[in-house]
């Protein structure tokens, strides 16, 4: 059995305050706090590249674990803003910076906000099929590389962060097993969120309509197929697109708000890192036994899965 045993995180220290942009974008405090839910967005330094964010997340992971972190069988990076142009793959650069041995499989996954859920499935299956004992799934998608500071749709929203999720084949009691999974794609609508000549362009209305309608269907389908109700799930960890969309999903699915944590205020929407950033907080909570994760965005792509605590 492959399970999540720990999550390391890194949020760069740099910040850009949305309160400083109120006049520029004609917004007020209520909009910042009540709708965006983002007071400031995190920004990596000029010197930091995507692989450096991964290394920092790995250092945090190491500080949380006691095992041999040099014996890693596979290292996977989920990003669409890799070092350089993605050649070589960022996972190989991270491998080098961590000084890992040659017996380590490395590859990147190109996905946005659904990437963490996809990544859990990919890494779990890859480890199982190859008899691996230790794998790490990184998420690091620093949108500051492509956000146009003058674009109201994106500049107020996206922040930089990285996470490192440790998956092990002989997990300690209380680890988290991922699955079953649900994956969906609507490639014909992909232009709603794309990199156009080096700049992120987002059709906010199209992304909202998609998120508000497609995600609840997938989540409900997953619950129904497992014969689970809302009461059977302790927490719903949605991709932190904005407070507005998470609130909307909560309402549509008739979820108790206390089961749907929101944490965007101090870093913003961190793309594939937003779910593991949340998850890290709750992994060790003994009161929790089942969580539902759901990521949605670039693609358009959406993916959901359950996490169940191992006994």
């Amino acid at each position: 059995m492959i399970a999540i045993t720990s999550v390391g995180i890194y949020i760069p220290a740099g910040r850009e305050s949305n309160y400083d942009r109120k006049a520029q974008f004609d917004i007020d405090d209520d909009f910042i706090v009540g709708k965006l839910g983002v007071e400031e967005v995190s920004r990596k330094s000029i010197e930091e590249d995507t692989s450096d964010l991964c290394v920092k997340a790995f250092e945090d992971l190491k500080s949380r674990t006691s095992g041999d972190m040099n014996a890693i069988d596979c290292l996977v990076v989920c990003t669409q803003n890799p070092d350089g142009g993605g050649l070589p793959h960022t996972s190989a650069i991270v491998h080098s910076k961590l000084g890992l041995g040659k017996d380590c499989a490395c590859f990147d996954i190109s996905l946005g906000c659904s990437g963490y859920v996809y990544g859990l499935s990919i890494v779990t299956a890859f480890m199982q099929s190859n008899g691996f004992s230790t794998g790490i799934l990184f998420t690091a998608d620093p949108y500051s590389k492509i956000v146009d500071p003058q674009d109201r749709n994106t500049a107020l929203l996206f922040g930089d962060a990285a996470t490192a999720t440790l998956l092990q084949s002989e997990p300690v009691k209380g680890s988290w097993q991922a699955g079953p999974f649900r994956f969906c794609t609507s490639g014909k609508d992909g232009a709603a969120l794309e990199n156009r000549e080096g700049k992120l362009v987002m059709n906010g209305r199209a992304v909202f309509n998609f998120s508000a309608t497609a995600v609840p269907v997938q989540v409900q389908s997953l619950l129904n197929d497992q014969q689970l109700g809302v009461d059977d799930v302790d927490l719903f960890l949605f991709h932190q697109g904005s407070k507005f969309i998470v609130d909307h999903l909560t309402k549509r699915l008739a979820l108790p708000p206390q089961k749907v944590p929101i944490d965007l205020a101090k870093q913003g929407n961190t793309v594939s890192s937003s779910i593991p950033l949340l998850l890290q907080r709750y992994l060790d909570d003994p009161e929790l036994n089942r969580m539902l994760l759901s990521g949605f965005g670039v693609g358009l792509s959406w993916a959901s899965c359950l996490l169940t605590r191992t006994s």
Binding site: F31, R205, F208, N209, S242
Partner: protein
């Protein structure tokens, strides 16, 4: 139509100011519906009336009455009563 749109708008933002006929013609922002809530109102209208509102139209529908006029035209175009 007007009553339905008022209900949709209040479903999104119960504090939206819709106390008079004139409020139906005021820009969304002036009745307390911000840019994100406008998206939500339009989605609610799309689902309620089973129509599409293209981005090109959505960009120019700035009041509830304009939204209502668009919905009615769409229903007629689709052969459904408004």
């Amino acid at each position: 139509m007007q009553q339905t749109l008022v209900e949709l708008a209040h479903g999104v933002n119960p504090r939206a100011v819709l106390s008079s006929e004139a409020d139906m013609d005021r820009p969304f922002r002036d009745i307390g519906i911000d840019s994100l809530e406008v998206m939500s109102v339009m989605l609610a209208a799309m689902e309620k009336f089973d129509i599409e509102i293209p981005d090109t139209e959505a960009d120019v529908l700035v009041s509830l009455n304009e939204l209502g006029s668009f919905v009615e035209k769409e229903l007629v175009r689709l052969g459904r009563s408004a």
